[in-house]
Symmetry: C2
Subunit: 302 residues, 2 copies
């Protein structure tokens, strides 16, 4: 394990819900009116491991995931865990996962090797993702310990962890991660690369015009800055069951790039669908967000 | 100067606009329909200096500010620069600035002494602010160099500076700063302390419900988490001339705590008022945001 990143420990009841990928999970989906879950590996994940451990573990995890999906092929799909620490091995494992296991894309958590994915070392993985024409889900991870020391300390372990993760830090770091991919010209090199970010857009919708104003004139890119956020990114509602940030995302990005998601088991299926069904959306917006965008992006055919 | 924080260098034309505090500035205000500017010291400011330099410089700067205001007392007001590095001296300088110079509050930029204002060393300053019943404006400052190294590097000096400041980092750090004040119980100790944050709320409106969900149950405070953000904070529109984040702030905080501001000379007076006059607001909301809230908060009597 890298010692410059913390390792998340989930409470046992949450771990039980994570590990149950069968009838109880499906019953909970049914009760909330959810047809399909796209499964992914949670954290601590491959990002904190050295390549010699991460590469073989990725294959094992993706086989496990594919086996669970095969047991309930109309209710589950999945994204591959990729050992980005070795970008070529990650690319190969993704290709295997997509072509042989039927997984629908890749997921990476935060920084790897102390770097964001715009670092040149990861280009072989991003190239393969684009080549395979599958999406990359960019999920937050705990901030480097040094950032936590400078930003999040002073409140005891529990509050500090919340502040560094779902209470603030996850979202500010992940939004930054998305912005960095744009600024680095990743989408000029790989124009069809599609990146999914959760949590109602990881602050991007609130900050979009501000970034356009201050970063737009300073950077040389092939297209206007805002266009990348509207053509190379998809956004999910995961863990954000509130109308004001939804409205902000609709007003800056639009329903055409937004996907309903729960963030199960961190959030509750029925709570999320209950909110979504009552949210102020047109029928067309609701259909796009509820399933049409996901069907298109992930190539779901249920 | 501290060597763990960068020192901002503004381009000369911007410095000229900063330093002109007279007829040209007022003509520009008139052209945009702005009655009063609340003047503050910009950066690099007292936060990067040791106490022996910061304390005497603060007095000099506040005297300078008061002299400019005295030349145009119906068009300018001001907030005192306070040398937070020595919190007791800062408290005394604020008291002098308010009682003798007629300044309307204090302004602090980001971290001081490598710490946010929730650190106990700053309590004497916060206590005096509350005692004097004037607001504290919390303005962003450049992130610690170590955060920039981990988060913002890789794009060359200009882009990195924008990314660390107005393009992302300023706002994620300042929003965090505000959250930390709440979590530390500052407003339980000083219930009447009023803090102003700019840039349409420094991401807080987008993140508010998420913080309530994840931080709320984990922290012991006297009041519900969201209540502090609606009773101890004021928000300005400075530098955010866009409807979607405005709407998000109205929907989460409300017009009762929002103040129109330009961020002059970083933003343009006419651009800001042009946007504001066309923004989708009721007459009542517009009156509150345009001047009623500011009159009340700063005790303006023009």
């Amino acid at each position: 394990m890298r010692d410059d990143y913390p390792v998340i420990k989930w409470p046992p009841p949450l771990v039980d819900r994570m590990m149950e990928v069968g009838d109880a999970r499906i019953a909970d989906m049914d009760a909330a009116g959810i047809d399909v879950q796209v499964l992914t590996l949670t954290q601590p994940a491959l990002e904190v491991l050295p390549a010699k451990k991460a590469v073989p573990l990725a294959a094992e995890l993706n086989d496990f995931l594919a086996a669970r999906i095969a047991e309930h092929p109309t209710r589950f799909d999945g994204l591959a865990a990729v050992p980005a620490v070795d970008a070529r091995a990650a690319a190969d494992e993704l290709e295997r996962s997509v072509r042989e296991l039927g997984l629908k894309g890749a997921l990476v958590n935060g920084q790897t090797n102390g770097r964001f994915l715009d670092d040149p070392q990861f280009m072989p993985l991003l190239e393969r993702i684009a080549e395979l024409d599958v999406p990359l889900y960019l999920h937050p991870a705990p901030a480097p310990k040094e950032v936590s020391r400078l930003y999040y300390q002073g409140f005891g372990d529990i509050i500090e962890a919340h502040l560094a993760m779902a209470g603030w830090g996850w979202h500010s770091e992940l939004g930054l991660h998305a912005v960095r991919l744009v600024l680095a010209g990743v989408f000029d090199r790989l124009p069809n690369l599609q990146v999914v970010i959760g949590h109602m857009g990881e602050i991007i919708p609130f900050m979009l015009d501000r970034m356009v104003r201050f970063l737009g004139p300073a950077i040389e890119l092939e297209r206007p800055l805002e266009e990348y956020f509207r053509t190379n990114f998809w956004y999910t509602t995961s863990g954000f069951v509130w109308d004001p940030p939804l409205q902000c995302t609709l007003d800056t990005i639009g329903a055409e790039r937004l996907l309903f998601a729960v963030d199960y088991p961190f959030d509750d299926n029925a709570r999320a669908t209950g909110w979504f069904n009552a949210a102020p959306l047109s029928d067309r917006q609701r259909a796009l967000i509820a399933h049409e965008n996901a069907d298109r992006l992930f190539g779901l055919t249920h």
